[in-house]
Structure formats: C-alpha cells, structure tokens
C-alpha cells in the first residue's frame, strides 16, 4: 500500500515538473541550413554539445533541399515563420538585408575590429553600412583540378602556371572523333558553374581590368583589357575548341565530365573536393590557379556560407541565438568543420596551420585565401546571368567581346544602381 502511494506521489511530481517549467528549456530557437549530409550530421552533434552547455536553450535544426532553399525561405518568412539563425550564401546577404530579413550582428558579441583581425579578408563582403550582417564558419576558394593520367598521356609534365601554358596543356589533352566532335575536353568550361567567378575576380583582374569600383557601386570591367580577357576565355570554346559548354548535362556537368575522365582540367571550388574524391576514376591533383605571367599578382575568388541572425530572433530568443551563433563560428567548431565536412576554416590563425598548407589537395585552396576576393553581389542570380549571357553572346552570336561586355556591364550597372538607390550614402 505504501509503495503504491509512493509511486503515485513520485509520478505526480514527475508529471508536475515540466508543467511548472522546471527542467524544461526556456527558449527554443530554430536553425536552418540546406541539406548536405556531413554538415547536417555535424550540426546535430554541435547542437547536442551546445544544449549541454546551455541547458536553458533548445535548438531545432531544420534542413531543406539545396536547390529549393531560397524558395523555402521566401515562403516561410512572410508567414512570420522561419528560423532565428539562418545559413545563407554570402552573395545573398545584401538581398536579405535589403528585404529587412537580417538584423546586423550585435557589436558587443561580434566587434567588427575583432572580426577583421581574426577572419580571412574575403569576409568583408558581408559588411554593409559599416556593419556585419552575417558570419561564416568556413570559407572556400578556387583552384584547378587536373587529371594526372591525361596529363601523362599528353606529356604535360607539370600543372600550368600561366594561362598560356594552361591553354597549351588543354589543347594537348583535347581529343576529338573523326567528325570533329569533342570526346575529351582539355578544359571543362562552365560559365554558369565557377567560370563566371573566374572571369570576374581572376581573369579580368589579371588582364588589367578591376571588375568593380572600390565602393562596389560601379561596374568597371567593360574596358579593352576586360574585353581581351573575355576574348581569351571564349576563344577556348570557339577557336582552340578545348571545351564545350554543357558538354555533360545537368548542374555541375563540367565536374561530372572531369570525374568521368572526359575533362583534363576544371576550375572548381574547395566544396567540390568531397564529390571529386568519391567519384573520380583517374588519378587527379589540385594546383593553384594559373596567372597571366610567371610571378605576376595572383588572384582568386573566395566565397562562403554565413550564419545570420534573422529579424525574427527577439527578446530571450535573440540572446540564445547570439550564443548559438558564437558557438557555430568558434575556433573549436571550425576545427570540427574542417575534419567532418572538409571545408576550410575562416580564422586566419587556423588557415596558417602549416600542415593544412602542405596538404596536396587542401594546400592550393588554402594558399589562395590571403588574397582571394569575394565579389560583393547585390543580386547574385541576376549578376551571374549577366556574365553568362556575355559569354554566350560571344560564343553563340559571334558578338565582339567588347560589345558583349559593354552590354552586360550596362545591365549589371542597372542592378547595382537599383540596390544602392535604396541605401543612404555613407
């Protein structure tokens, strides 16, 4: 009889506890990212650690297909739903800021001086109106992937260091059938893949045309030098015919062609390492992007996914979200991220690790981080389209590169003007 009473009392207390709010998380915040298996797994682990450190906070982790991520956000937000902390491509940040979706990072928790001291320089692209709006755990840069077997059979002795050598190597590796159709590309061209970044931040600059003005308000690549860079790039397709656009179908077709041994070289981001490692049959290597001249100024395009604080995070949720954000970009997380996801850490001091620089695959990406620039996109999809169209105008419509570039620059200038017109001059 006594035991029954004890059981009832214990049961009642246990049931009453949550109702009284004891032992129950006080705040639940939501984190959104796109689905990538290793990232999703890692973030689940990180959340468990975080919740152990902050027993009052619970983090709901939701993830969605990559290709539909923006749609998901665009539908949820007007309903007042959505996350407190969101993972975004850095190039979307100005658009999200412009829509009022992000709040700027609190100065006390993320002092700009400290950010600029700790992080690789490219993350300045997330500074707008003198404030930081989002912050990354990891960063990427571009490098050249090459098929070592094709190099050998074409007697290319080492990875090219100038674009001239690059073109020569591509020509030697290109194979065609008796009707002139390409069967193996020397260079897997992909204007809508990474090549539009290559044009903007690498080729234009190395040929002597800065793509944008220092304040990011003006498009400045439509010069004679810029046109020469575009001419060089498009002639790989039209004249020396070492590559063909959409050689393989689907998004990332150029990378698939490389993995299938049908492209000698591709320019790709560090985020592609995992896929290439899994899927490539031939032996392959990575090299730093070539330059215009030997010993000339190197350039690279850097990019990153950021975590931002949404306007939805207010009151206690905001406090919790800030703590979670700090946890997500901490040095410890960055290390785990590198091991589990294979993405380069965003802190300078972690990147400077000599073991990382000596890694044959990671090394070329890491060595580009100090000078890699992240384009300040105000409308990434539209700006990408503009440059992809410039390439197609030359390749498909035989437009002179200068004219194609001027038309594209005018279109892009309109996009920039529209964005800046809505913002106060500093």
């Amino acid at each position: 009889m006594k035991r029954i009473w004890t059981a009832i009392i214990v049961g009642a207390v246990v049931l009453a506890l949550p109702a009284a709010g004891i032992g129950q998380p006080r705040v639940t915040i939501t984190y959104w990212q796109y689905f990538f298996e290793s990232k999703v797994k890692l973030v689940d682990q990180l959340i468990a650690q975080f919740e152990a450190q902050y027993p009052g906070v619970k983090v709901a982790h939701e993830h969605f297909p990559y290709d539909a991520y923006n749609q998901k956000v665009a539908s949820a937000v007007p309903a007042g739903q959505g996350p407190d902390v969101i993972n975004l491509f850095y190039g979307w940040v100005p658009l999200y800021v412009d829509s009022g979706y992000l709040q700027s990072l609190p100065l006390d928790a993320f002092p700009p001086v400290q950010i600029e001291r700790d992080y690789v320089p490219m993350i300045r692209a997330s500074k707008l109106d003198g404030k930081y709006w989002a912050i990354p755990t990891a960063v990427r840069s571009l490098a050249m992937f090459y098929n070592a077997d094709l190099f050998r059979s074409a007697a290319v002795v080492r990875p090219p260091v100038t674009w001239e050598e690059f073109q020569a190597a591509a020509e030697r590796m290109t194979a065609r059938d008796d009707r002139g159709r390409i069967t193996t590309m020397g260079f897997g061209v992909a204007p809508s893949g990474q090549d539009h970044h290559l044009l903007r931040e690498v080729l234009f600059r190395q040929w002597g045309a800065a793509p944008y003005s220092a304040d990011n308000r003006r498009v400045t690549y439509a010069t004679a030098a810029g046109a020469e860079a575009l001419r060089w790039y498009t002639e790989l397709i039209t004249k020396s015919k070492v590559g063909a656009i959409d050689f393989f179908p689907g998004a990332g077709g150029y990378r698939n062609a490389f993995m299938a041994g049908r492209a000698g070289m591709i320019v790709d981001g560090s985020f592609a390492i995992g896929a290439i490692r899994r899927g490539t049959r031939a032996s392959w290597g990575v090299a730093t992007l070539p330059g215009r001249t030997v010993g000339g100024a190197p350039s690279n395009f850097g990019s990153y996914w950021v975590h931002g604080l949404t306007a939805r995070a207010q009151g206690p949720r905001r406090e919790a979200a800030i703590q979670f954000l700090k946890f997500l970009v901490s040095e410890q997380t960055q290390r785990l991220w590198l091991d589990a996801v294979g993405e380069l850490p965003a802190f300078k001091r972690l990147v400077d690790d000599p073991r990382l620089g000596a890694d044959p695959v990671m090394g070329p990406f890491v060595s580009a981080l100090p000078y890699a620039r992240a384009t300040f996109f105000v409308d990434e999809a539209a700006q990408r389209q503009v440059l992809v169209d410039a390439v197609n105008e030359v390749v498909l419509n035989n437009k002179p590169p200068r004219q194609a570039l001027e038309e594209s620059a005018a279109k892009e200038q309109k996009i920039l003007d529209e964005f800046w017109a809505k913002r106060k001059r500093p």
């Binding site: 796109y34 990538f36 309903a79 689907g250």
Partner: protein, 275 residues
C-alpha cells in the same frame, strides 16, 4: 472497329507504327533504368547499357536514406487525395453539366479561372494559412490544396455533357433521388473519364514537389520527390541515386495505371446504352 480481320494490312500497319513509336517514346525511360543499374564509375559513360550491372544504387537508396518512409508518405497522400478528388470533382462536374440552375455558367468559369494562377504564386498565401492553422508539417497541410481540382471538374463536366438526358429522365420517372441519379446513373456512364482522372490525380500528387517541399519541415514527413531532391546539392547531383530512386518511384504509378486503364477501355462496353 475492333472487329477487323487480323490480316488486314491497315491493322498490320497500325502495329508497325505503334511498335516503332513506342521504341522512340520509351527510349528515355529505358535509359533511366539502364543508368540506375550502373555503378557510380560508369554513370557518366556515354554507353547505353552498363558493363557491370549492379543493384548497389537501389541498395543505397533503400538503406542509407529514409526512402521507405518517403514512399509511404507519398502513398498515403496520393491515395487520400485521389479518393477526395474522384468524389468531389465528379459531383461538381455532374452538377455543372446536367443540372439547370442560375449562375451555372459563371460558376464554371470561376472554377476554371482558378487554374490560371500558377501554383508558384499561391504557395505563400497557402503557407500563411497553414501557419495560422497549425497545418505546417502535417499530412493535411501537404494535401489540402489538392483535395478538389478544377482540372477534374472540367474533365468530368465535358464527359458528363455526353450523357443523354433521357437516361436521367428515365431514372427520375423510376423514382431515383437527385444524388442517386448522379451516383447510380450518371457516374457509371463516365467510367473511362473517372479512371483517367484517378490516374492523373494520383500521379500529380505522387510527383508534387513545390508545395510539399515548402510545407514539410522534418525529414520523417518528406514525400518522395522532396526526398529525391536531396540527391542534388551544391557539388552536383548523385545521378546514379536519382535514377534508381526515380525507377522505384514509378512502380506504384504504373500499377495504378495498369489497374485503371482497363476501366478506360471496358467501362462503356459494359454499361453503355442498352436501348
């Protein structure tokens, strides 16, 4: 028409055209199946058939993902939606075709007009509605927009208009109620159209992507197309898995088609005008 002799050259020609056409038409489908049997290393080979056929893609899709769960979710949603659509669309289609009442033309145009706003523009209001009512991440939330369709109402109305009024009048004289006229007399007359409607509705919900993707929050609620979309990511798509998943996804729809297509052909032969 079906009663022609087997040796009739026109019939022989029909077979030839159909056979040639079906090769062309089904070719991409067979390519998909062939690709699904290729190991990752062969998936981008331009060869049609795999040199080393494997079922490892199927094994990976079935075991490493929540595929069985996605499959079940899709099945539940497609089945319930199809039953609802079959009933309501037929009822409305019948009323619009066979009953006289003020506002009939206007109501028909109004229903038809609802087809003219693309789903892409409706998902935001739907999401706001679902969010306010707690429908986010529920089966109901996934399927509510498709429970009655203008497409089906239009289809059934067109077929109902071919049902002779005499048949209904005869039923009225026999003392059949208004619902009975619809259910027992008119509905059997449009069996082929109903079978077609069921096939299309099942398929449409089975393949629906945009709205389910938006209203689903957690992995266990994902439908098949939303799940398959996870095989495409920033660093390209796992085409071997997409092909295997797609091949598996076809099976239930094919079964539904095979069962219902008999109704399309045999429906009227059995219940057609006897007088």
């Amino acid at each position: 028409m079906a009663g022609r002799a087997r040796g009739d050259p026109r019939v022989v020609l029909s077979y030839l055209i159909l056979a040639a056409g079906s090769l062309v038409v089904a070719f991409p489908f067979f390519w998909m199946v062939a690709s699904s049997l290729k190991p990752l290393a062969e998936i981008f080979d331009v060869r049609f058939l795999p040199t080393q056929p494997t079922i490892e893609n199927y094994a990976e899709v079935l075991t490493r993902t929540q595929f069985p769960r996605w499959f079940a979710n899709s099945l539940i949603i497609a089945a319930i939606t199809t039953v609802s659509v079959a009933f309501f669309d037929a009822l409305v289609g019948y009323a619009l075709a066979k009953l006289q009442f003020p506002g009939r033309g206007l109501i028909f145009v109004l229903i038809l007009a609802t087809l003219m706003i693309p789903t892409e523009m409706l998902v935001i209001p739907w999401y706001i509605m679902s969010s306010a009512n707690g429908w986010i991440n529920t089966y109901w939330g996934i399927m509510f927009p498709g429970l009655i369709t203008a497409f089906g109402i239009f289809l059934i109305r067109q077929f109902m208009s071919g049902v002779p009024d005499e048949l209904l009048d005869a039923g009225r004289i026999d003392g059949v109620g208004e619902f009975g006229l619809f259910w027992r007399i008119a509905l059997p007359q449009v069996k082929p159209a109903m079978a077609a409607l069921c096939i299309f509705t099942f398929l449409g919900n089975w393949n629906a992507f945009l709205w389910p993707m938006i209203v689903i929050q957690t992995p266990n609620m994902r439908t098949l197309p939303v799940g398959l979309a996870l095989f495409s990511g920033e660093a390209g798509s796992s085409w071997n898995l997409i092909m295997a998943g797609s091949a598996l996804a076809i099976i239930p729809v094919l079964l539904v088609f095979l069962v219902l297509q008999r109704q399309i052909i045999e429906g009227i032969v059995l219940t057609g005008l006897r007088n």
